[in-house]
């Protein structure tokens, strides 16, 4: 965290009243542009849903699966979205524990992104399984068959990890929202006022409330921190626990966690740039914030790059012919293009962040974040698909290309995510009012007592 320098606070810090007003302003009645955007997103979502129904009707064969590649784009998406989620919790929980003040302006966006990303990720295991109508068998509920589930299976780990993560991050988001909703409640009018009155749960900001609130928030953060690290470790074990060459590696947990945060921070940047513009938050989300996010990107990016190198080194050093073949195939086999996309986007592009100019240039950051997102999606694709296509049995090697159904559902998943995000951004404060206020000293009559 050494890289996270305290931002120099804005030249003229906004007064409490201004903060409330500015944030409340973002909740005004939506513009036409907003509705057009929402409409577009919903259309794409509908297409995705259509593709899914088609797949359920005729079977998974409509996807491009080609044995031995039994996992494809769906699991890739799952890992991708779970990964996205991580940065949110990192910024809101871990940085909270580290008391880094700069997070206050951005953490709400990140946290919302977390919840919606997990919500999206959670869909993919379902979309991916052959008999989605029996998905509930994955939970240990008492049934007349007297059967339980296999807790040795990494997939069951996933079930628990992802559902826990979804619950906890949602609670965390809601708890953080309460005082802010109360704040906008007291300035809002019309139906929104009703909405906020209910959702604020009667918050008034009394000394008693703040006292318990702060403790609870602290402990939630304390719980969320190991959780966020565990979730992607668990996801990585889906692969590391198996015997597939290219999967079976001890480095996977840290490698995946770093990658997760990397991709997550990238998406935060992708979201913040337009948000800042549309909501006129330039005063709150400043170059400092992007600078810090960039440093985060740089750090995690370097870890990821290092992990790539380690993988190849170990494949060679282990002398295991299967590992060697797998990695040779990654770099120079049918899927070389995917591999090199991933390496360039994830390991080389972040090097530009060394330059302060790039870090503080919003357009540059935006473009860079897009590339990182692309690269991280391909990282998962390479790890999953390419490893599976060349396993132990040469006779059974195969080549997989996704079908239109898979692409449609991938787009649908982005639409699903943005539907939630758009609805949230327009109806709930995307910048934490109380926490921004907290770091700004309140006005005083006389000189501060010592």
């Amino acid at each position: 965290m050494a890289t996270l320098a305290q931002p120099r606070t804005p030249v003229t810090p906004p007064t409490y009243a201004e903060i409330t007003r500015d944030v409340a302003a973002t909740l005004g009645n939506p513009s036409r542009g907003y509705y057009i955007l929402l409409g577009f997103v919903l259309t794409v979502l509908a297409i995705g849903v259509g593709a899914l129904l088609y797949q359920i009707r005729f079977g998974l064969g409509v996807a491009g699966y080609t044995p031995p590649v039994m996992w494809g784009v769906y699991i890739t998406n799952f890992v991708f979205w779970v990964g996205i989620a991580h940065s949110g919790t990192l910024i809101s929980a871990i940085l909270y524990l580290f008391r880094s003040a700069w997070r206050t302006a951005v953490y709400r966006t990140a946290e919302a992104m977390t919840v919606f990303a997990v919500l999206t990720a959670g869909l993919f295991p379902l979309i991916h399984i052959g008999r989605i109508w029996y998905a509930y068998w994955l939970f240990p509920y008492p049934n007349q068959r007297q059967l339980w589930i296999n807790f040795k299976s990494p997939l069951v780990f996933d079930v628990f990890a992802v559902s826990t993560y979804l619950t906890v991050s949602t609670l965390f988001l809601i708890v953080g929202l309460i005082p802010d909703i109360a704040a906008v409640r007291d300035v809002a009018t019309g139906w929104r006022k009703k909405l906020y009155r209910i959702t604020a749960l009667g918050w008034r900001g009394t000394d008693q409330q703040w006292r318990h609130y702060l403790k609870a928030y602290l402990y939630l953060a304390a719980l969320a921190t190991p959780l966020v690290l565990s979730v992607h470790s668990v996801v990585s074990w889906d692969f590391a626990v198996s015997i597939v060459p290219g999967w079976h590696a001890t480095i996977f947990a840290p490698y995946f966690v770093a990658g997760a945060i990397y991709s997550g921070v990238a998406l935060v940047v992708t979201l913040l740039v337009p948000l800042r513009k549309v909501f006129r938050m330039e005063r709150y989300i400043t170059g400092d914030h992007f600078d810090n996010l960039a440093k985060l990107l740089m750090l995690t990016g370097f870890i990821v790059g290092y992990a790539y190198a380690t993988e190849y080194f170990l494949a060679w050093y282990s002398g295991n012919q299967f590992e060697r073949a797998a990695f040779w195939n990654r770099a120079f086999g049918d899927y070389w293009w995917a591999t090199w996309t991933m390496i360039i986007c994830n390991a080389f592009l972040p090097l530009f962040l060394i330059f302060r100019k790039v870090r503080r240039s919003i357009p540059a950051m935006f473009v860079l974040s897009l590339f990182v997102n692309l690269g991280m999606w391909f990282e998962r694709f390479v790890i999953i698909v390419v490893s599976l296509s060349h396993e132990y049995e040469p006779y059974a090697f195969g080549h997989y290309t996704p079908s239109w159904v898979e692409w449609a559902i991938l787009c649908g998943s982005f639409a699903w995510f943005f539907t939630w995000f758009l609805l949230f951004a327009k109806n709930f404060p995307t910048v934490s009012i109380s926490e921004v206020k907290e770091i700004i000293p309140m006005p005083r009559k006389g000189r501060a007592h010592t």
Binding site: N143, Q144, R145, Q146
Partner: protein
């Protein structure tokens, strides 16, 4: 007058059937019936029953187990001939029915249906009541050999004017018994 004659004929026919049965090895069905010997003369199937009230689906022919298996105490295997030797119990062929009903039960509209079907050479399409999903293998012969009576799974069939599903036939139901009797609960015993 004619009624009495027919009844006598019926009793004769069934008597013949029972004699024929004594040669069979003593089995579940048989024992089930010996248990009830005390109540032998006691049980007389009701002459008229309210078919509308009876549980279970309405069969094309109102065949009454309570008369055949109950009152006349015919052995189950007389009709369900394969229960001991095969995974499936076997459905009686029409010629089995006609064994008795050539003489017995004339005038009874239900019996007439059977005769008509036989003469037209068209089998009767009974509605299946005890139905297992196709991915379950249930060998009747092993369960008969394991000293289960038909009634254990099919209920007091000899008191049913119209057969209905007695047990749930769900996996849990099978397991309960398998646990009690400490029989294997190995999945591939039933599922393959």
């Amino acid at each position: 007058m004619t009624k009495r004659v027919l009844l006598a004929a019926g009793v004769l026919g069934v008597g013949a059937a029972l004699v024929a049965l004594r040669y069979g090895a003593p089995s579940a069905g048989l024992r089930a019936q010996q248990d009830t010997t005390a109540a032998r003369s006691a049980y007389v199937a009701p002459v008229d029953v309210d078919t509308a009230r009876l549980p279970g689906p309405k069969q094309p022919v109102f065949y009454r187990h309570d008369i055949h298996a109950g009152q006349y105490e015919m052995d189950c295997r007389y009709c369900h001939f394969a229960a001991e030797v095969s995974r499936s119990p076997g459905m009686p062929t029409l010629s089995t029915c006609m064994g008795c009903h050539l003489v017995a039960g004339a005038g009874n509209p239900e019996v007439e249906k059977v005769r008509a079907a036989y003469n037209e050479g068209r089998p009767i399409e009974w509605i299946e009541i005890h139905r297992l999903p196709p991915f379950v293998q249930f060998p009747h012969n092993l369960h008969v050999a394991a000293d289960l009576t038909c009634q254990d799974c099919h209920g007091p069939i000899e008191r049913m004017p119209q057969v209905y599903q007695y047990a749930s036939l769900k996996m849990g139901w099978c397991l309960d018994c398998h646990h009690e009797e400490d029989v294997t609960t190995e999945c591939t015993v039933c599922h393959y």
